[in-house]
Symmetry: C2
């Protein structure tokens, strides 16, 4: 039996904003699962901002992608062949072997990175790539463990309409917070106000840090206890201006900087970190996996009650994966960006 898969590979490490030319589709053979292996047909894959870091050719907390090799990322698929006693044909699994239609891989090797059975009858399969997966746990860990959010506090979220940000907003609201979201279109802001935000600011109409500072002040005259940072730049500067004494910032990402070709200066008001006794803490979700069960215990009732919903933008076909990824940076999507592979 001969199996074939299409894969998306990088043609070169992009400098600045990646373009479609940085990606190519390849076709390779897939051997059916041998001993200790499983073969998986992917149904869904995730694109996430952190992947940009792995496209720079530089080792950070994780290895860079290799030119000409299939990219990697969260994916949900179905087992089609099994050579391992823990998996049977028809099982659904979450792996980090996205950006391809099909693969065969060693179970123990995958377990070192990510291999988890999921139940598509309990939740829509793609939810495991969003609110019930890595972005959801990122939101939970950042809000509760890093920023030490306390019920009833005032929370500011940048990138609020994204997969992580929208989960932060809804979790905080469910715990009685006053929530202010920042997003890039009026449509996103409208969605946010309908889903957990007391108010939402369209940063494209605020234009600069001074206007952002005022817009946040209008939304939260008493100041901000917790800032959940996904964006950086003028968002960070405006947030600093509005933090309360002893405020905390969970720094999840700074998407505004990911495609900078030359260094772009940071905020001029970092000295407020001293005067306001702020804690500014970066984090990577993989260091918080021990809180997954705690998060899922919170997630279930909130989803059942309709207090935590996943908004999605879905592109169909593996060939659309580069476009899906690039739209993370243009902002041309709503909620969790997904690719439906088959």
């Amino acid at each position: 039996m001969s199996l074939k898969t299409n894969n998306i590979c990088l043609t070169a490490y992009p400098k600045g904003l990646p373009t479609p030319e940085h990606f190519e589709m390849t076709t390779t053979d897939v051997s059916p699962a041998g001993d200790g292996e499983i073969t998986v047909r992917n149904h869904w894959m995730s694109v996430d901002p952190y992947m940009r870091g792995r496209m720079s050719g530089i080792k950070t907390y994780i290895e860079p992608f290799q030119i000409g090799e299939p990219l990697e990322g969260g994916a949900i698929g179905e087992v089609t062949h099994s050579g391992h006693k823990d998996f049977k044909v028809g099982d659904w699994v979450m792996t980090m072997l996205g950006w391809r239609e099909m693969f065969t891989a060693n179970v123990e090797d995958m377990r070192k990175v990510m291999l988890q059975k999921v139940d598509p009858n309990m939740l829509p399969a793609q939810a495991y790539l969003g609110v019930a997966g890595m972005p959801g746990l990122t939101a939970y860990a950042g809000l509760y463990k890093v920023a030490e959010f306390q019920p009833g506090e005032t929370v500011l979220v940048s990138g609020a309409a994204g997969a992580v940000g929208s989960t932060v907003c809804q979790l905080a609201k469910a715990d009685g917070a006053t929530v202010i979201g920042i997003a890039g279109t009026d449509a996103k802001c409208k969605w946010l106000v309908a889903h957990g935000c007391d108010s939402a600011i369209n940063y494209k109409t605020a234009e600069n840090a001074a206007n952002m500072t005022k817009a946040i002040r209008n939304a939260a005259p008493g100041g901000i206890d917790v800032y959940f940072e996904n964006v950086g730049g003028i968002m960070l500067e405006a947030a600093l201006n509005n933090m309360k004494i002893f405020g905390r910032m969970a720094v999840c990402g700074m998407i505004s900087a990911y495609n900078d070709e030359a260094p772009v200066p940071g905020p001029s008001n970092l000295v407020q970190i001293v005067g306001k006794s702020l804690k500014v803490q970066g984090f990577i979700v993989s260091n918080y996996s021990k809180y997954a069960l705690e998060y899922f215990a919170k997630l279930g009732p909130l989803m059942a009650a309709g207090k935590l919903v996943q908004q999605e933008t879905v592109l169909e076909g593996l060939d659309k994966a580069p476009e899906a990824f690039l739209r993370l940076f243009s902002g041309d999507k709503q909620g969790k960006m997904l690719v439906k592979i088959t």
Copy 2:
């Protein structure tokens, strides 16, 4: 009986670097202590970088100084008249009523801010303004409580030759750290290497963030666990480039920014806060006063063993106080800057 005191007052809120014209000496009457009051003759006063913030006319975590009123700050003096049962003539006290030769004040009012008996036989009186006072506790709290320093880690200190920085270096070294100090003259660097630092970098020869980054990397090829920040600007940028994953920064001050007339952009590499999971935390010593006894228990044996020494620059006469203060920013001093009043 008529008592007179000279005082140093602010003539205007400075924009940018203060000059001698921003200060004036006034002479006022002092009534001998009435009921509930004490009269104190100051012998020593402290000048500290944080005072610049109170000269801006803006309320931060503390009220601004008032134009035409005596400035305030740490001082050590002797009780000359007492109307309060807890104090007798000849007692030595530490108060926040510096920048004046003499004063009468209500004991309960002073206790709300700072009023503490000190023993000039146990330590030189001026040590209570340095290593055994607020700067010393600042060093201890920042290193152990904010940055969560663990014995044996690698510690980088900016403003290392100052009152706080030099204490941080010596405390860390006593706990087996590898310590790298950053200071502004070769003489300061030489003192640092003789007092706790494994190596010292003269930032004036490093010139820019790229050179500072290299100088730190040469001194600590394995990276930095703890950065004790007194300076900001290119020091912060270079420190970020050298932090280890899970590194911590105690942000005590950013003296490079205190006299900025216009906003100066911050470092371009803040995104490393995410990739390295850094904690960057500002603090104000007054929120750590509960650790004073714990610190003094550590301080005593270290001072007795000569492992923690206070380097001082002393100017004589209250009229020299403005000059002493301004030399904090020019860097023209070694160690703790003090004014001997009488």
